[in-house]
Symmetry: C2
Subunit: 169 residues, 2 copies
């Protein structure tokens, strides 16, 4: 398992894409003449997480993925963001933490204890990454995107995927 | 890069989860008394892909990820599913193809030519997997889930994530 690829490369790329969608949503708010911070409470079904909660969950999932696989403490983020500017800060802080992780030695076989699993149980680092953290991360990133897209922001697949390192010759 | 993990383990797990959501949607249709095949045209925004198209795109993304990284031909699927039963068959055929792939030797550095990139350009197998195929796969899987969830099917995060290999002791 390439832990850096799973825990750093793909999450920081998608978090930067997410920050770009926030900017598009702010531009859209400006064009339509509403307060951009209203996005934080937008949601799909009324019993699903709203936009801000999806951004927070995406950040937390990426943060804990890196921290648990590197066996280090994750910084605390109390989920108290009330503005788009604060969501941008949360994303930036998450990226900075993840990119600062020095080593994932032993990540694949590390015993990971998860707060939502029964006491005394654990999963391997690889199982945690591939069977929980990566799908959960993309779940919240995609739902955040879907909320903006569904409410009129002109996002497309290119904005979702972001840049690729394309070579010629 | 662990190509089997990226191209087989995570995609087949999520495709099996997707098939389970289809069954929940069929049960919901039965309870509410509407034709389950009506799900195929359900969508979020009117200019986004509908449910069937998201299932097809998820299947195709997973199929091409495995085929391109293994350097073998992918089977053709003409996207002509008209019923939930046919969507189940499409998912099952995709899983069977992916699980039948024998070797991913050389996948990481393989030159991958993509039909939607300019002629003469390519990306590495790793870049294709992590920067395009995996996020694109989760995008369509999550959007399919969101359509059902948004229209009333009682899906939760547990159904999205599916089973984990939890160990004790």
């Amino acid at each position: 398992m390439d832990a850096h690829l799973l825990c750093v490369a793909q999450t920081t790329k998608m978090l930067r894409n997410l920050a770009a969608w926030l900017k598009e949503a702010e531009t859209f708010a400006g064009e339509k003449g509403f307060e951009a911070d209203r996005w934080l409470e937008m949601r799909l079904a009324p019993d699903q997480y709203g936009f801000a909660r999806n951004v927070q969950a995406a950040c937390d999932t990426a943060k804990f993925l890196a921290a648990r696989l590197a066996d280090i403490e994750a910084p605390s983020h109390p989920d108290d963001e009330k503005t788009m500017a604060e969501l941008h800060e949360r994303i930036a802080a998450t990226i900075a933490f993840i990119e600062g992780v020095k080593s994932f030695d032993g990540a694949e076989e590390r015993k990971i204890v998860l707060p939502f699993l029964p006491e005394g149980t654990w999963v391997t680092g690889q199982e945690y990454a591939v069977s929980f953290a990566v799908p959960n991360f993309y779940f919240h990133v995609t739902t955040a995107y879907a909320i903006l897209r569904d409410k009129g922001v002109a996002l497309g697949k290119r904005a979702f995927i972001g840049a690729m390192d394309v070579k010629a010759g």
